[in-house]
């Protein structure tokens, strides 16, 4: 029979009542708590009906030395005198139990209990929740900006969708914790005025579900990443885990050595910042050096030497394209790079085709062609996706010192859809110069096609029909 049991802690820090009830149930089943933290550890014990009490000691800290302060030891002595046995302790929280049903509760003054818990929450927990909410909000804004500027491309990438959900859930989770706590505190203070204790409440099932969703999101992000992105994501993930382990290790070593709370906090934060910076710097350097980027499949590398003597490596792709320049026009250029990439989620699927000259061959003036075919799988999103595609060039931004809109004068104007075999068609128009651009947007059913390139200049109806046939037929 196993002597030890581990359990993921999904109770709110302040949920004294929930934790006590849970530990009582576990003790009745023969499991006695012996270690707190993100993962709780129980040891096998004789099944007993025990009373548990969660107490908070505001002056302690996650960063406090392993040897508790004199004050905390005195507090524990008082509890022992009253018949309470200490089962586990971590940071500001301690767990006591008693087999005596008549033992005087550790806290007998409701107002004082609310005040002590608030002192505890103020020291570390509230700041942590605020930091997590801030980071989640920042990431959420970052991901959301991607959706706002190019909705269809974002919808077709599962990792983008999960990223949006993950950061939103994380933000809601930490704000929910804060809101839940303050709501309880307001009601608990009122109850305490009447001398009554207000039980705390959290939602461990919901927290576990949210955590599972967040982890699933990260899993999907890695699974869904392209062959070229995956090594960097995996190295990044391993780096984050290593940094986490190193930070936790630093904290634990300093605690064992009896370093003061302030010193431990300062050193641990410094190590955390230094390692995070080193990790980011290392990944960026490796990415720039191409270490983390595997050779793409079905592509030939080539090197271009620029006037200053600098050289850069590029790839010429040899993918089979549904529509090529040669289908539309005659060309003598035979060094094309033909790249086809696909992405799909439950909401949208996207295929991007690009036939372009190799870098450095600009003088050849060869015709080029590129297109993006989007199938909106979740039909109610179609009009939103179409609106996003129609305003793609106006939404296109470059942020360098400040945000620029280099293509703000380019607008799609509706044109005759019949030659394309499309339901609707638009052509890009430059409002400033009054010129038509060789970029079209076509729709049929829930498919949206954007096609552009020099190969489209002076298109005849037969060529338009061919493009429609190749890119619009599902």
């Amino acid at each position: 029979m196993r002597g030890v049991k581990y359990e993921l802690n999904s109770y709110s820090f302040y949920d004294r009542t929930g934790i006590e009830r849970h530990l009582e149930k576990m003790a009745a089943r023969g499991w006695l708590i012996e270690r707190l933290g993100s993962i709780w550890r129980y040891r096998r014990a004789e099944p007993k009906k025990l009373r548990f009490s969660i107490v908070y000691y505001p002056d302690s800290s996650e960063f406090a030395p392993e040897q508790p302060s004199e004050g905390e030891l005195t507090f524990w002595d008082y509890c022992a005198q009253a018949g309470w046995v200490r089962a586990a302790h971590r940071g500001q929280m301690s767990v006591f139990f008693s087999g005596d049903e008549r033992a005087v509760p550790i806290d007998t003054d409701a107002a004082l209990q609310v005040e002590t818990l608030h002192e505890t929450m103020k020291r570390e927990q509230i700041t942590s929740y605020l930091i997590i909410s801030g980071i989640a909000l920042w990431q959420l804004v970052r991901v959301w900006r991607g959706f706002a500027s190019d909705l269809t491309a974002s919808l077709a990438v599962p990792s983008e969708l999960f990223g949006l959900c993950d950061w939103l859930l994380l933000m809601l989770l930490s704000l929910g914790e804060l809101g839940g706590y303050y709501l309880w505190r307001r009601r608990a203070k009122r109850a305490a005025e009447a001398g009554q204790f207000l039980p705390t409440r959290s939602h461990p099932g919901l927290q576990r579900a949210i955590l599972a969703l967040v982890l699933l999101g990260f899993g999907v992000t890695i699974f869904d990443s392209s062959r070229t992105e995956r090594p960097m994501l995996l190295v990044g993930l391993a780096g984050v885990l290593l940094v986490y382990a190193a930070v936790q290790g630093t904290k634990a070593v300093l605690k064992r050595r009896g370093a003061g709370t302030g010193k431990n906090k300062a050193v641990t934060y410094a190590v955390s910042f230094a390692l995070s910076f080193a990790l980011m710097f290392g990944i960026l350097r490796a990415e720039r050096a191409g270490v983390l980027r595997p050779e793409p499949e079905n592509a030939t590398p080539y090197v271009v030497e620029y006037s200053g003597g600098d050289t850069t490596q590029y790839y010429a792709y040899h993918d089979a394209l549904p529509l090529s320049v040669q289908d539309l026009k005659k060309t003598d250029y035979d060094r094309y790079s033909c790249e086809l990439s696909e992405s799909a989620s439950a909401l949208a699927a996207q295929t991007v085709g690009k036939q372009s000259m190799r870098e450095g061959d600009g003088e050849s003036n060869a015709l080029e062609l590129s297109y993006r075919v989007t199938d909106v799988r979740f039909a109610p999103l179609f009009s939103l996706c179409l609106r996003s595609e129609l305003s793609y060039f106006q939404n296109y931004t470059i942020t360098f010192y400040r945000t620029h809109h280099p293509f703000r004068n380019l607008v799609f104007r509706e044109t005759d859809a019949a030659p394309w075999g499309a339901e609707r068609a638009w052509r890009l128009y430059n409002k400033k110069d009054g010129d038509w651009n060789d970029t079209w947007l076509l729709t049929r059913g829930t498919r949206i096609v954007r096609v552009n390139g020099t190969a489209l200049s002076g298109l005849g109806e037969a060529q338009m029909a061919l493009i429609g046939e190749r890119l619009l037929s599902i």
């Binding site: 507090f75 008082y78 005198q81 005087v104 550790i106 007998t108 003054d109 209990q113 002590t116």
Partner: protein
């Protein structure tokens, strides 16, 4: 701030101060309060620890002796005044009650 905080005393605050009119070890206050009240008022160890800290910080009690972690405390003059003020307040309540109830009869 402290005076405002202890403007009126809870039963537990009152009896802890009363128990400390003679020097007493912090840990023994729980038992002494129970004795003083015939078991009617019980002070939990967490509440006792926090109140002793707050009373000491406000100057209502003072530490008199420390043997290891066993610390003894005693009421100060300020603590005695606080206790007396509370008794006056309670006495006034009682007087009002008795006068009004007598008038009713």
């Amino acid at each position: 701030m402290a005076r405002e905080k202890f403007g009126t005393l809870t039963e537990q605050m009152f009896y802890i101060l009363l128990a400390l009119r003679d020097e007493c070890c912090g840990m023994d206050v729980m038992a002494r309060v129970s004795e003083l009240t015939g078991g009617r008022v019980a002070v939990g160890p967490g509440t006792l620890y926090n109140l002793l800290e707050q009373f000491a910080a406000a100057g209502y009690i003072e530490e008199t002796r420390a043997e290891g972690r066993r610390r003894s405390y005693r009421l100060t003059a300020a603590g005695r005044t606080l206790l007396e003020n509370e008794v006056e307040r309670l006495r006034a309540l009682l007087c009002d009650y008795e006068r009004l109830m007598r008038e009713e009869k």
